[in-house]
Symmetry: C2
Subunit: 583 residues, 2 copies
Amino acid sequence: MSSLFGQASLFLLLSTFLSFFNAEAKIHHLKWEIKYEYKSPDCFRKLAITINGLTPGPMITATQGDTLVVDVTNTLLTENAAIHWHGIRQIGTPWSDGTEGVTQCPIMPGDTFTYRFVVDRAGTYMYHAHYGMQRSAGLHGLIRVLVPPGTVEPFKYDDELHLVLNDWWHKSTYEQTAGLSSPNFEWVGEPQSLLINGRGKFNCSLAGGGDSCNLANSECSPASLTVVQGRTYRLRIASVASLSAFNLEIEAHNMTIVEVDGYYVKPVVVKNLNIYSGETYSVILKADEDKSRNYWVALNVVSRKPNTPTGTAILNYYPNHPLKPPPTATPIGPPWNDTLYRFNQSKSIVSHPNFIEAPPPTSNRLIILLNTFLTSPLSPTPTLSRHHHPHPTAWALNNISFTLPTTPYLIAMKSQMQHVFSQKPAPETYDYKNYNIHVVSSNPNTVSSNSVYRLEFGSTVDVILQNANTLSANNSETHPWHLHGHDFWVLGYGMGKFDPEVDSKKYNLFDPIQRNTVPLHPYGWTALRFRADNPGVWAFHCHIEAHFFMGMGVVFEEGVEKVGELPSSIMGCGESKHLRRRA
Amino acid sequence: MSSLFGQASLFLLLSTFLSFFNAEAKIHHLKWEIKYEYKSPDCFRKLAITINGLTPGPMITATQGDTLVVDVTNTLLTENAAIHWHGIRQIGTPWSDGTEGVTQCPIMPGDTFTYRFVVDRAGTYMYHAHYGMQRSAGLHGLIRVLVPPGTVEPFKYDDELHLVLNDWWHKSTYEQTAGLSSPNFEWVGEPQSLLINGRGKFNCSLAGGGDSCNLANSECSPASLTVVQGRTYRLRIASVASLSAFNLEIEAHNMTIVEVDGYYVKPVVVKNLNIYSGETYSVILKADEDKSRNYWVALNVVSRKPNTPTGTAILNYYPNHPLKPPPTATPIGPPWNDTLYRFNQSKSIVSHPNFIEAPPPTSNRLIILLNTFLTSPLSPTPTLSRHHHPHPTAWALNNISFTLPTTPYLIAMKSQMQHVFSQKPAPETYDYKNYNIHVVSSNPNTVSSNSVYRLEFGSTVDVILQNANTLSANNSETHPWHLHGHDFWVLGYGMGKFDPEVDSKKYNLFDPIQRNTVPLHPYGWTALRFRADNPGVWAFHCHIEAHFFMGMGVVFEEGVEKVGELPSSIMGCGESKHLRRRA
């Protein structure tokens, strides 16, 4: 793209293009103020980051093709911020992705930053902080993008309900991050509570007295979803969890999975839904049970040994009182360590037959990413990096533990700042012929780096996520990987070590689902394919907040030369501090 | 100063000039890294902001005329920072004053900011954070500036000791500030502990169990100052307190006050020393007691009704064990509410007769500042301000509650940004003929503003600080006021309401002490005089962290047109985000 053809004109063109499909495309202008406030989401009073006083923040509703303009004013006292629009590909607006260190400098206290982008695809998405571990402090919410009027979806319902799922700690994120980066390494531990629509219930007798925990606080009365017998509901579900993999069950009701991350699914009926951080679902629920009572909505931790009580909300059959407790015990979900159950549910999700968009039959590049955990001291990164002392305990991909540069990649690349990040290409693979993923390995050659993968624009890329043993014997964890700026096809899941010769032949190239977040199961592999066709710089990372903080991510660049002139509002940190304002 | 005569040349000239008095002037290059770490200064484990792992930070020792170059690397995760060199006038380097919002943008995470300035006057000073309430989180330390070799001081001693005095809370500064700015207003309350050289002792039985409080932790063993019988010591003392006024007593030993804030005092012998936040002292202590035992160093809260145990350290007579407890009870200090005692001690401090620098006999301008507290909702500030919703509970000067602009004043003024702060002059006085300082007044006309006082360069300015009743009947508080960029003469203290006609005739124009911080006593007034001869923009504010946060400050500008070109390193926030880098 020539420099004559700048950001504004590209944006206009895109808006016009999308408006073609949505004759009534609107601009939604939102004004958000973020700050710290005391909240008691699980009856325990602590600081949370709120948007306009709310956590979860306001739900955004727009129609495909609409433009969102969100003025985010940072009224935190000393802390910066950034907000990522998770699942929105930011086609033509890579500077609005909200990924601090990748696509923008953080928003300083007192400043107002304007995110402006088109929601180009109907579906269920989310937004959340993408700076430090601020998402864990409560900065997140749901985005609903509706189909244009007259569009027929492959399922019917009478009304919509929504569920934002989260895990919640009583320690501040400062305490969590100080523990994670201390030489002694203090893990964040299991959450104190699970929240549904920002509401949970802590056992206040464990809170050590005082008035910091109050079960009578209305802020922690359970969420209640009112239904009318005989009607059918679309439940939009998002997990903004910091750590936990969840199993969601609605007592006595099956759910039919119909949408993931904005794509229609060949309907799958489940008794309960495994949902990983960063994933969104729509399920169809029919209110066909006894209307004289209410039912439990139950949220349980899976994949990690649970040490948190079941999170509960109420499915309220009208005209019962919304908070009338169901007379039954809360569902306990499947065994937490039934990996095969979750693996099979993941595999069951494929594209709806009427909406298949087949992937390219072959790819131009194969990147295999071995996921490992280590406690060895890391070599310092050779170039400017956020962490001057890399974490002594870290996650790594192919022996690279990721650190963010002080100057965001997008700005650095557009401004030809070669010294800002490592110019050494990130490694394409690991020694898969010899590496044993089933044993404890210290991976002593791991280094800390901010190197990136530069992708040929328009090429097709396969990524294999390969899981392995952690530093505990017989332990491998679940990692939900999220890709910015793209949806990918999920070509396959496997148990054990991926063999390029054998396993690639079993890919589902017929009706794979597309999505932006996918689980990597314990000791397993997950194969993805995407087209590198969105000019920009894009993070791809484990969506567990502490794992990304400890280096579990990579960055892809493609077609950055095609990105128009960057808005000066994303600059101001690191080497971008004194770049000239665009005329 | 012409633009040809820029920062670097001015700095060189100044260095040369000062070197004339100190033939061996040195450059001290310090590299500091600040971050959050778990610390147990009073046995209770919580996060503190450390410098190179320490709180208090490293003590700086330099000689008059030396240059300090401090590279401050911010390794906080999401939080900015700034460090003020309290008592250093920054002659020729106003951009190194470290006052966020006034003289610089804060240092962003990952960035290194270099402070470079000359310590032009021997004496005892301090440094501390000047951003949000980060000083309360532990970011502070002592600066000793020694006289050049061969210089005779008006007192003798064999050795030096030092005492950094502080108060300490178990709540984080985030929790404190969220409480202060919440509509319900939660006051920070009295400190949990008093710290001497970063060490105190909390009663762990009050900590609610768990392993967060451990009396056996060596981090909280008391500070011990070892002396040899018969020798004489100079104790350098600094209070970095967030809130408390202190009384310091060394059991069985008198102290002779010989220096305050870098000026020699006509010696005053005291049994105990009242010291307010932001003040520094040197006292002479003779080790003339029984050498078979140790003695208590006792720190008590005065002026506010104490709810914190006495802070203790040990005066250790060699060769007793440094931590051998004295056999006696700890000194309890004077009655906390004996205002007259403190008032008289303040008045007793005048210049050493051999070092009198007489003030100008008259002044060009009189500014009277009425100090009031209020809870009325404030009108929003008319110009860009940090706090979009001004604090519902605030302190004010002449009915102006101060807010910082998003663009630092120094940058805004040099760049002719008129819109960045209110151009309406801040008020010179209040209605002193009719205002009753002894009754509760709601001061309903108070507004929030970032207006400033613009002083004629070279003029002499008198400031009268006038105290008043708070919102509680029969209550008026002590406020230690600190002026940046200058030392002022303390012309007088009074009880009751200052009468310009009468009280100005009683000023001490003969031997007033000069200092940078001075108490305003309950229901009293304090009269200051200074020369507006240091080009720059300078904060003048109550040194109580929460009070400044709630608006208790003003800003003076003088000769900003004489300031050389600003270093680009201080820019990057608000409207200074895209100013061009200096060529």
